[in-house]
């Protein structure tokens, strides 16, 4: 039977404020254990929270970037549950009046654009971390590191609008891209600054009623989200095919085994006993403040992509790849600012630059070749000073030495040979030295021409203008 997959995602992301959500402690990742703590984030008796205004600002920013309405009256609530990494045994979060609601973001999968609803964005505090000796199951003890306690989070909940695991991955990529653009989160899954839980259910094609869902946890990368959902969709389909029923439960993705396993059923689910946080006053947002934040939002990925397509004639794919990361897009804009030809700039950025960065495991911010220098290289090609092939050698040298393209070309004598007389002489000598190939070519073997071109390029160390070589060789033959 044919099933439609229905997926909704809950994404938690840490906000990159300097201080925590309810106290002045630092949010710095990787500090020595229990050094970024105070009575407030340790939940000692008698302490009270005070909201960090920056957190509200960042949450509004995220809400606006996700096309949400900002609620003029919002409040915090307590989510009550016991866990040793939660010093107060309740998490201060937002329940029925979150800061932002009813938004969306657009994703593109297989050339088709789909609009995915964002139900809500709400603020909350992060919990601490348990530290075990060895693994959680064989450790004699657990220690608590409270450094992360009170680091601000926003939770972004999607509507159940996603229809494939691939769309789920595209949604996450887009969300990450937007959050990076507005500079509210680092979105580093490996540091836990972005986490994702996924709800998934199946229903018969054409059915409007939602099927019973399961919630997937322990999805530690975008790839795991996709793989976990693919597995779970198949598992649910198998259960339904066998005439079974899906049990509403939380399941954990086991990446090593490539399966999901049951964690707890609906009956074992927590009753969080949410109620309004009496230690904080409701958040009344000044509409003027919201407008100010809206006006100051940077250009977002979709707008930037459209601009690149319209202004530079880039393909949707290229513009999409370049604008997925704000830093890459900014690098691109800078190359253009240094008068590089836009399409060549896009090709270089997505080609050599990206290849070198990947193999060195560097981000664009750490690229040793500056946009200005890359623009210099591209203009050497445009001017015909060097060939594209030579340019790759030059780029490698630029990467390693940090020198200008111009200097490298001059230093190594890599200037393209465009003098007809000079090329003719070499062509003649190669023809003379390879009578067999000449004969083959004349007998109709086109491949022989390639051999002869190769010989010419070898003699000129690749510097001869390839178009001229081709033309002159054909003329001579």
């Amino acid at each position: 039977m044919d099933y439609e997959i229905v997926i909704g995602l809950e994404v938690h992301t840490e906000l990159k404020t300097d201080s925590k959500i309810f106290c002045g402690c630092s949010t710095k990742f990787g500090s020595e254990q229990n050094t970024n703590v105070c009575p407030v984030c340790l939940g000692l008796p008698g302490v009270l929270p005070v909201i960090n205004e920056k957190v509200v600002e960042f949450a509004i920013k995220a809400g606006l970037a996700l096309n949400c309405s900002i609620l003029p009256f919002s409040k915090f609530d307590r989510k009550n549950y016991y866990y040793p990494d939660l010093p107060k045994n309740f998490q201060t979060s937002q329940y029925d009046l979150p800061i932002a609601v009813n938004g969306y973001l657009d994703i593109e999968v297989n050339g088709e654009t789909r609009r995915i609803g964002v139900t809500r964005v709400h603020m909350e505090e992060d919990a601490g971390k348990l530290v075990h000796s060895g693994t959680i199951s064989n450790s004699d003890y657990a220690l608590v590191d409270y450094n992360r306690t009170g680091v601000p989070l926003i939770e972004i909940v999607s509507e159940p609008d996603l229809r494939t695991p691939e769309e789920a991955k595209a949604y996450l990529e887009k969300l990450k891209s937007i959050l990076e653009y507005i500079d509210v989160s680092d979105c580093k899954m490996e540091e836990g600054s972005l986490r994702c839980d996924a709800n998934i259910s199946l229903r018969k094609q054409g059915e409007s009623k939602l099927g019973t869902k399961t919630e997937l946890k322990n999805l530690n990368s975008f790839k795991m989200v996709q793989k976990g959902l693919e597995y779970e969709a198949e598992r649910q389909a198998d259960v339904l095919e066998d005439g079974g029923r899906i049990i509403q439960e939380t399941r954990s993705w086991d990446d090593a085994k490539g399966i999901t396993v049951s964690m707890r059923s609906k009956e074992q689910a927590h009753d969080y006993r949410y109620f309004p946080e009496p230690d904080l006053v409701p958040i009344v947002v000044d509409p003027a403040k919201v407008e100010e934040i809206r006006i100051n939002l940077p250009e977002l990925p979709d707008a930037r992509k459209n601009r690149l397509m319209a202004d530079y004639g880039l393909s949707g794919y290229d513009a999409g790849v370049i604008t997925a990361s704000r830093a890459v897009a900014e690098y691109y804009d800078q190359i253009i600012a240094f008068k590089a030809e836009p399409k060549a700039a896009a090709n270089w950025l997505m080609g050599e630059v990206s290849k070198f960065l990947n193999s060195a495991n560097l981000g664009i911010e750490q690229c040793p070749v500056s946009p200005e220098k890359l623009a210099g290289l591209i203009s050497l090609i445009e001017q015909g000073t060097i060939s594209s092939k030579i340019a790759k050698t030059v780029f490698e040298e630029m990467w390693n030495s940090g020198k200008d393209a111009d200097a490298i070309v001059k230093e190594k004598g890599l200037v393209q040979i465009t003098d007809t007389g000079e090329i003719e002489a070499i062509v003649d000598s190669v023809i003379a030295a390879n009578p067999q190939s000449v004969a083959d070519f004349k007998a109709g073997k086109d491949r022989a021409l390639g051999f002869l071109v190769g010989q010419i390029m070898k003699q000129t160390k690749g510097r001869a203008n390839p178009e001229m070589v081709n033309k002159l060789l054909r003329d001579r033959l």
Partner: protein
């Protein structure tokens, strides 16, 4: 008269005139503590050594001719649910028996270096109770009759001042915990407007109701303590950002034209006739002094107690969740984390605390939230509206503080409902967030009777003026508790 029997403002004058030193006063109070604490049991922790050091420092300042604050050198007691840097703060609970806060409550910071603190006063565990019998350590006794309770939950703070073991004290009031013990011990107790005094460092019982306030021997001392502790605090988001008046300016012996409301619902069945008589006499006096009396109705009063016993426990169930044996406080050994939680909390919380945690957990549970917690919040709004409407017509409301005088030790300890009824007149004031003061207005069988004066939000001045006028025309506040025999 002994030094420990004076008011703070009297002692302040003696200090200024250099008739006594802060060390003299402190030694007198410490000697009194040594003499009677065994009977009264007002304290959990005594800080005699540091008190003497503080007194010496104040004397040195006076010697140098420096200006000192009105409470400088005057020994005070602090309820043991207010965090004191480096000094145990137990909340009268075994779960915090060894807890030493690494920080001061804002009120402690505001009181400052000049103040002499003689100890941390006993209370009902986590401020839950009305007799101080729920202390996890031992009950306190009422200095007017040692066979009776001093009220609660600030019973230790009240008993200390009444017995001469402190000149003034701080209590906290969630449903009457300052006013009712003040009434039982013949003292002045003020619960300020919610948000007037910072709660930072007050160990939370019910966050939306708790307020710190003074317990003193007269209204003048009350104004001085309020001057010291009131004001906005950036560390408490619920504190109110408005200027604080000089409360001593409200110490005016004049209530001509003051409109007094008498809410009929507060004169309930079960009220001691002696108490009612004393209140009615007091009202006659106020009218004779120039006040205008209006009888009014506050129709939702009868539901206030029920709403309170859902809202306060609901908040408490969450506030007290942090006492789990993990980071601080008492920890029992357990087989795993859940077992450790259960044993820690079972062993170290007292019966009343457990009762309220269970009540509150139930009220917030899925399926019950709307019927209990949410409905209680709606009742709270109605109660508040009763006050809003009343204050459109009158300046202050007058009621008894408690339906009876101090009851016998053990009399109500097995009947929680009877105990809760002692708060019937004080609870609506917390639900509405308005200020209320209790002052002595008579005696029945040798035990003090308290009158409650309730004011508009942030209008502590008018209730202080009313209280001061009544006080200046009477001398109930001048009588000193006789102690007596422990039976």
């Amino acid at each position: 008269m002994e030094l420990f029997q004076y008011t703070a403002h009297q002692l302040q004058n003696l200090l200024k005139d250099k008739e006594v030193s802060a060390v003299d006063i402190t030694k007198a109070v410490l000697a009194r503590m040594d003499a009677v604490e065994g009977d009264v049991k007002a304290y959990i922790t005594q800080t005699q050594d540091s008190a003497l050091e503080q007194a010496k420092a104040v004397d040195a300042k006076i010697q140098r001719g420096e200006v000192i604050s009105p409470l400088a050198g005057i020994p005070g007691a602090i309820k043991d649910n207010i965090c004191t840097l480096g000094i145990k703060t137990t909340c009268a609970s075994k779960i915090l028996a060894d807890f030493v806060p690494p920080y001061n409550a804002t009120v402690m910071e505001k009181l400052g270096q000049d103040t002499v603190f003689v100890g941390k006063a006993n209370l009902d565990e986590f401020a839950m109770g009305g007799s101080t019998e729920n202390s996890g350590f031992y009950p306190s006794r009422n200095p007017w009759d040692l066979t009776t309770v001093p009220g609660g939950s600030s019973g230790g703070s009240a008993a200390a001042v009444a017995a001469g073991e402190a000149i003034w004290s701080l209590g906290s009031d969630t449903g009457g915990s300052i006013r009712q013990p003040a009434a039982y011990t013949g003292l002045v107790g003020l619960k300020p407007t919610y948000g007037r005094v910072s709660r930072y460092g007050l160990v939370a019982f019910a966050s939306s109701l708790d307020q710190i306030g003074p317990i003193t021997r007269d209204v003048t001392d009350c104004a001085h303590v309020m001057n010291a502790i009131a004001g906005y605090d950036a560390k408490d988001s619920t504190s109110i950002k408005v200027d604080v008046p000089d409360y001593t300016k409200a110490l005016v012996n004049n209530i001509k034209g003051l409109k007094i409301g008498l809410p009929k619902e507060y004169f309930v069945a079960g009220m001691d006739p002696e108490v009612e008589k004393a209140i009615r006499n007091a009202i006659d006096q106020l009218v004779a002094l120039g006040a205008e009396l209006t009888e009014i109705s506050m129709p939702h009063t009868e539901y206030a107690l029920s709403a309170y016993y859902l809202i306060a426990p609901a908040e408490a169930s969450s506030n007290l969740a942090r006492y789990d044996g993990v980071g601080f406080g008492y920890r029992a050994a357990g087989n795993d984390i859940v077992d450790m939680y259960k044993k820690t909390r079972s062993q170290a919380f007292g019966t009343e605390v457990k009762r309220r945690i269970m009540l509150g957990t139930y009220a917030l549970s899925s399926g019950y939230y709307d019927a209990y917690y949410l409905r209680a919040l709606k009742v709270r709004t109605l109660v508040k509206q009763d006050f809003d409407r009343a204050f459109e017509k009158v300046d202050v409301l007058i009621t008894p503080t408690a339906p009876t005088t101090a009851f016998k030790v053990g009399e109500k300890s097995s009947d929680p409902l009877a105990m809760y009824l002692q708060d019937v007149c004080t609870i609506p004031v917390n639900l509405a967030g308005v200020p209320g003061i209790s002052i002595p207005c008579g005696f029945a069988n040798g035990l003090p009777i308290g009158m409650q004066i309730i004011g508009k939000p942030l209008d502590e001045e008018t209730i202080i003026r009313t209280a001061y006028t009544f006080e200046q025309n009477n001398d109930y506040h001048k009588r000193f508790a006789p102690l007596g025999e422990v039976k």
